[in-house]
Symmetry: C2
Subunit: 642 residues, 2 copies
């Protein structure tokens, strides 16, 4: 179904369940949204599933409520939103097992307090942290043979254009890179194999979409038509930026193909507008494809420039420079109005864009995009094999591995299950093809969703999680700041069944769900991974070199290796603590009152802090992480002489 | 049963389930712990409940797994541990609905970023935060007529001796006070009525126990015998410190009586030792009582001193100064070895101390303590009406309102249910009195516990939550840092039934559970509560006074009131943002890339940030809190001219 065939009502859609949204604001966009309240096409005429009946739900409760001690079968990695960390969930229970600090200090771990974490986070010249806020959106993990391999995950900070890497053995952040000349770093996706080298069947690159167009370099010029955005490629191992592509329009979400040849980003602002009315003035925007092999050839051939102080090679991906398919680095496939979301189907065939301000889903066939790059497809938009109506405000799409797609409808507060091949048939003129399989009402206004293993070749169609942006009345009231509502859905049958509501602090955005046997976590650190490790309590002591003082301590429940230590006012102190306890789960904490120090050391971990001993007196440093029956008594005394 | 009657084995207890603890460390204290592995007395000879059978647990699942959209019936306020915030749970589901930032910055809210939050948290001379770490332990709420009244809750920061107040209408922290001359502020409890004025049947004071003895004032002297601890009283309304009491020994947990006359703290270090062996050298420590009316009379009469720079009156509560019961401000009741926990029974009659390194619970009758203060009881320890064996490592006690107490056994990894009146009978010689009613194995090493409404006269004996310090193998592995395990138990029947395991980030310590109708939350702010509020978008603009610039903005989905604003490099900027959206749950965020600014404004809230415009360029300030279909497009452009 082409865009032109969609009915355009002259009145705003009835507000119904979405009345909480600013009525004036909705009305003002209502006439701009090309959509109907009720599906206008036979393919879409499936009513929403009724709320789960009592009987269904009882079975559902058995699925999500594990008996005490029973383990979850799936991991979930969730972006933490503006808390700047990554959440680790167990599913189907929905229990949060861990939070991994990345971009923002974490007072539990001492992230942003220890020297080791500050080095990863980045500091200013005075040693203080460069940033203490973040806005994480998307998280994705490394691949091998089209499935997760349990090595790494990555997560983005939109505010400050940073990408963090998580080691999935220790579940810690080990590297952070700030992308040069990027503002509003939004989408992120690892590649799934190398576009050229067959042997590299695993992730070696991470693609990052820059959303806000800015001057290049960023001087304060006002004329927005001169602004540009960059698409960046980060090396998965070194975490250095390999190359960037300067483009027309912006980058929003990012997807990568299973053959490694293509990456893409949806563009909601091809108009390159500075105000929101301008950003939604065009009827169609784009899904922008990147030909990875050609880009890397261009870089190799020196066909790039650099911007400002950055040394990163930047190739030209604008329309103007990429008119010839046979040499083009980029390809702009047209999709309807302000799309949000581009997702790769697990069969490797399609990228699907959701229309946001258009009620449509657009299916793009990747072999056809590759044909265009080879000069074998005359019109690039012929790669669009379906464009069908799904409902109001489609945002993101997940898959069940059985040919069905699940798309969130923000304005309709629904998830719609639709069959991709049926949609293609319908688009090709078979009006009897019923592509919409089911609809389920959500509570309320869903953003991202993801299904178990959805973004791998092993998509298993078992569970679907949806991040609803508003919870309204679904939980006990807790003042003006409401939690969001993550809803958990059984998708194993024909009809979707809502299993559970989970409140969550804003704002998780995206997440992945995978089988628990895909990671191999380590529960105890290796002492040798820490250059400063104090391997024997006998090495403990205070080493003085003028004003520079090193305090060496070890912990073994229920005591630190020194009962007290003395400093002089003004000393420049580095305190190193190694936890010599080897037993799983035996973590210690170390707090210094009034000195703003607290951090933990897990079994066999070493951490250090540096501070000026500027306050004389007696300071009881104590263990802050319960360790032993004599935990309360586990202290050491820091005496700072005036 | 008196302390002397407890068998003292010469070998360490068998390790069994607690083998994860450092074996050497356990062994070293084993011989010091006056206890047996198996209960040695008939009163204690009840085997632990078997793990919940399938049938039982199925019913249990129905209790804790709410259907989607079903509301919880209880609130839980949980201390957040070293994340320095307060958690708000819904129970019985155990879902975390909210986190209230207090002592530590929170990047979601902008706590520690906005001027308003920085004022509450406290700053250094250069405007940066004084502290960014904390260690919250205990939270308790304000009372009226012996039950919670939904006005306030308080929470402590042990590291930096701070107390924070939470408004329970908006669920926000509104005041923080740092206690002078206190290190290791541990226990906290509000009073329940005035000791003198009958009309004041609600909370007006909060009592705070100082744990670590330090020099007074804190110079760096080494001789620990000269150190002292302070017990502090904070005014519930002004949050100023009313008075302090200098004591022998330390303060650990705190309890207050229902008649308002007594507060108490358990002391684990009456030895005033500086090393842990010294702290556990005595066979008995103490529960220290404070006579509130007399202390306030003494302050009124000018019988106090002040310490260092502090203006807070400090009265003398040491042994030496309080030998005469008729004038004594304090009374040291002896309890066995390193007690941890003192809890008031809901009938108002008793305080119960748990022995930690002694396997006993000690029941102290409050009328007898008052008799001693009146000179009517010859020996203070005659106020001990029971001292019975409970198991290994007793820590904290909760109540069901039906005469039963529930005490966590850290080393036994159990909770023991025991009947207080039966324990008194047993202690009085009735060896047939079976005071132990039930035992339940926990997973693993429980610290605090609390029952629904336990610390009020309305204790309802429905649910019990236990904070287990170690989770070991109860959840999917997530690297070296394990979650803790909060277990939720049905205590409505004779036998306890374990309902659910909940993983939680370290380390929650204490919590309270109360019926949902006791609070009356407000979901939208009152514009008039904010002096800087911009009440009309027309008031928006940039107001310049030399280098000092005020930027006034409002938000209404999907736009900020200004599309762009211009600054000059070096400007000292204060940006004020009022959210004019009035609809519940319609929160906006405001981020400035590269300027380390992100904060939210809830409906009708105003917040401000101050910064130096030191980086020239174009900066897209954007809404970070999903608000509308055009949320992504909701931006304003900050142009900083070089």
């Amino acid at each position: 179904m082409s865009q032109e065939k969609i009915a355009k009502p002259e009145v705003a859609p009835a507000l119904g369940r979405r009345k909480f949204l600013n009525t004036a604001a909705i009305a003002s966009i209502g006439t701009l949204v090309a959509c109907t309240e009720k599906p206008a096409t036979p393919g879409a005429s499936v009513p929403a599933s009724a709320p789960a009946a009592g009987g269904d739900h009882s079975a559902a409760a058995n699925a999500t409520h594990l008996k005490p001690g029973e383990l979850d079968t799936y991991y979930g990695l969730w972006s933490g939103g503006h808390t700047g960390d990554m959440r680790v969930l167990g599913l189907p229970s929905g229990r949060e097992i861990h939070r991994i600090p990345c971009f923002v200090p974490d007072a539990l771990v001492g992230w942003g307090i220890t020297n080791e974490s500050k080095k990863i986070m980045g500091t200013k010249a005075d040693g203080s942290l460069k940033y203490t806020v973040a806005d994480t959106h998307h998280t994705h993990a490394s691949y091998k043979d089209g499935n997760y391999d349990g090595r790494y995950a990555w997560i983005n900070d939109k505010i400050n254009a940073r990408i963090a890497r998580i080691r999935l053995d220790y579940f810690i952040c080990d590297k952070i890179t700030e992308l040069p000349n990027v503002q509003g770093f939004h989408g992120i996706f690892p590649d799934k194999r190398d576009p050229v080298d067959e042997k590299i069947n695993y992730t070696t690159r991470v693609f990052c979409g820059g959303e806000f167009a800015i001057p290049m370099p960023n001087t304060g010029i006002e004329d927005a038509s001169k602004y540009r955005s960059l698409f960046s490629c980060v090396d998965a191992e070194s975490m250095e930026v390999r190359w960037q592509v300067m483009i027309d329009g912006n980058c929003d979400l990012v997807a990568s193909s299973y053959d490694g040849k293509l990456a893409a980003t949806n563009q909601y602002n091809t108009e390159m507008g500075a105000h929101y009315e301008d950003m939604m003035s065009a009827e169609r925007d784009a899904c922008l494809f990147f030909n990875i092999a050609r880009i890397e050839e261009a870089v190799k051939a020196g066909k790039f420039k650099t911007i400002g102080d950055s040394k990163v090679p930047v190739v030209d991906g604008t329309h103007e420079a990429n008119k010839d398919p046979k040499t083009a680095l980029t390809a702009y496939v047209s999709v309807p109005k302000n799309p949000h979301g581009v997702n790769a189907s697990p069969d490797g065939k399609y990228f699907i864009c959701a229309g946001k301000l258009s009620p449509t889903g657009t299916v793009i066939e990747l072999t056809k995009v590759l044909e265009w790059f080879e000069g074998k497809l005359e019109k690039l938009d012929a790669s669009i094999v379906a464009e069908v109506e799904l409902g109001l405000g489609p945002l993101h799409t997940a898959f069940d591995g059985r040919g069905n797609a699940f798309t969130t409808l923000f304005l309709d507060s629904q998830v719609v299950k639709w069959n991709v091949e049926a949609a293609i048939k319908f688009h090709n003129g078979d009006k009897a093809a019923k592509y919409v399989v089911d609809r389920l009402d959500l509570q309320y206004q869903p953003g991202h969703l993801n299904a178990s293993q959805s973004e791998t070749k092993a998509a298993d169609g078992k569970y679907l999680a949806v991040g609803c942006k508003f919870s309204k009345d679904r939980f006990l009231p807790v003042g003006p700041l409401h939690p969001e509502n993550e809803q958990f859905i059984d998708i194993s049958g024909e009809k979707m069944v809502l299993l559970a509501d989970h409140p969550v602090r804003g704002e998780p955005h995206d997440f992945i769900i995978f089988k628990r046997d895909l990671v191999r976590p380590k529960q105890v650190y290796d002492l040798n991974e820490f250059p400063l490790a104090i391997k024997d309590p006998k090495e403990s002591g205070v080493v003085r070199n003028g004003k520079k003082v090193t305090v060496k301590l070890t912990s073994q429940a229920p005591a630190f290796s020194m009962r007290e230590f003395k400093l002089k006012k003004g000393d420049e102190v580095t305190l190193i603590l190694t936890n010599l306890d080897k037993i799983e789960d035996l973590t210690h904490g170390f707090a210094i009152p009034k000195y703003n120090v607290n951090f933990i050391v897990n079994p066999q971990e070493t951490a250090s802090v540096s501070f000026i001993a500027d306050k004389p007196g007696v300071f009881w440093c104590y263990c802050t992480h319960f360790c032993h029956a004599l935990h309360l008594e586990m202290r050491t005394r820091m005496i700072v002489e005036a």
